[in-house]
Symmetry: C2
Subunit: 329 residues, 2 copies
């Protein structure tokens, strides 16, 4: 590998001058510049990032910790983050916790040792240990999707969006509304959306029936199974609508309903959250909420950049969302 010393030698100057040329710092003569530029071009030289980092403490890398790489939400968010980081000439180091909370801490440490300039955390559950770790963390951290105390966080408007869905359902005349959620250890998706569900029912004096509620694990299959449970447990009094906290689970739920000959939304209306691409093309098309994931990615990206620049954040921000009414309700 060519180093700055090689370039210096070939161009007949000292490595200091080469460095100055590269970084545009200090004066470099016309002639020297040309020779250096030439040599660099010929050799295809690129400065060693590790040497630079060792001196400057800047890696030009930010780390992303996400629960699962291969989901639509993740890849949209990453794409958004990528957009702003590219603009700043920064690279992205991806880590995937596979929904294991311990890994969140592990990767936090790893990114520290890699001296990431900043970290974007898409957490799922927020434990004691995680918070402790972040408290004394030497690297700027921002969070997306969950509100982490002490960390600038951009959250989705889970409560409001869910309320909107519920209103829509209720507005359409549905009174027996079921729910397919996820574990409450997930504050945003598990807890908040469910609270919005029960709150909406209570506000309208509608029944909150345990057997109309089921828990899945984000997968399409788990939505199918959850729907199956709800239907088989309520043969005599099935719900006439189901609010699913993710589009994937909603898709599974619809799949089961269709199999069983229920008409959607005639017999049972279904709504989801997330606006997966698929939701528009299944039949009937799925009523859902779009969270502008890509823009949210850009927004946390900017947020991290600002935090890195020392700008304090008002800690709590909610990203916009949009209710998408389609044919399943």
């Amino acid at each position: 590998m060519t180093t700055i010393n090689d370039i210096a030698k070939l161009a007949g100057v000292s490595r200091t001058t080469v460095s100055r040329f590269l970084n545009n710092s200090g004066y470099v003569g016309q002639e020297a510049s040309e020779r250096i530029a030439q040599v660099i071009n010929e050799t295809g030289y690129m400065p060693s990032q590790s040497a630079q980092t060792l001196r400057t403490k800047k890696t030009g890398v930010i780390g992303i910790i996400l629960p699962k790489i291969s989901t639509e939400t993740s890849s949209r968010v990453v794409s958004g983050i990528n957009k702003v980081m590219k603009r700043e000439g920064m690279q992205i180091l991806l880590t995937d916790t596979e929904l294991d909370p311990d890994k969140e801490i592990e990767y936090l440490r790893l990114l520290k040792s890699r001296q990431a300039d900043g970290i974007i955390l898409l957490a799922t559950n927020i434990g004691e240990r995680l918070q402790q770790e972040i408290e004394a963390f030497p690297i700027p951290v921002v969070a997306l999707g969950q509100n982490i105390p002490g960390v600038p966080s951009l959250t989705y408007a889970d409560y409001d969006a869910s309320s909107d869905i519920m209103h829509l359902l209720i507005g359409k005349g549905h009174r027996k509304i079921g729910f397919i959620g996820v574990s409450e250890t997930d504050p945003a998706v598990g807890k908040l959306r469910q609270t919005a569900y029960t709150d909406a029912l209570k506000r309208q004096n509608l029944e909150v029936k345990e057997s109309w509620m089921a828990e899945g694990d984000f997968s399409i299959d788990s939505g199918y199974e959850a729907m199956k449970r709800i239907i088989t447990d309520n043969r005599s009094d099935p719900p006439d609508a189901v609010f699913c906290v993710t589009d994937r689970m909603a898709t599974g739920a619809m799949e089961y309903l269709k199999e069983q000959g229920f008409s959607i939304p005639g017999d049972v209306a279904v709504a989801g959250i997330g606006d997966a691409v698929m939701s528009r093309y299944i039949t009937p098309s799925l009523t859902t909420v779009n969270y502008y994931n890509e823009e949210a990615g850009e927004a946390v990206g900017e947020m991290l950049l600002e935090t890195m620049a020392g700008i304090k954040h008002s800690k709590k921000m909610m990203h916009k969302y949009r209710l998408i009414k389609r044919d399943s309700v």
Copy 2:
């Protein structure tokens, strides 16, 4: 940040001993070990990756260059790669060319300067310059999806898979088969799949009709538009089947056909490639080919690992695939 020197001082030994302790190299006494372990625990010390890299030339990072982050295929592949890299304690540095061939070269260089230990390239088009760049490249590179001369490549069985689709279509009695492809600058998706299409028709002495063929750009919308063009240009003699080179475009095509009141597969059969999640849930469910993207990701991952270890590869490998017969044909 605590450094190895701090640890050494606190533990009352030299930094050499600390290093040996950390790397399990050479002898370290019981007592010293304990003191060092203690201090490290107390301080939460992690060695500086950049300093290590500067000395050892190993970053523990591999780069992935992909055409677009936020696609199902990409995220599946990345997930697969991640799986094997995690096993080896390696991190992934993601770069996204946004389908710009120039960026492929740019990122290659960037990953060089970051001293990635290896690179996985998901190229789209393969130009002269790209090949030149790779030829003298100091870092192991492997490719997925496209066969790049001189580079160990794992390709999908595009020709065979497409032929299978065509056989299926023909076997079902279709004789007027249309085609929705992408630009031929993409050797695998654009060229190979189209060749398989025309070859299959010729083999059966079926008509290859220009106006039954249209080009999209991978997007659902472009599939819709392509289908529209084919139908409007052939009012009197529309095809009775369409082979789309991606599921997304097939989805768009179906959307148009449904809108226009064509029954699928009664009036027009549709088939795609890629087995997007959505394909199973749209109506009718889409006949397609599954490329085992995640496994392919694992496979190139292993391939890269081997290449990095100095094992020469038989250059050309084809990944398995599976025809999935559903209701659209």
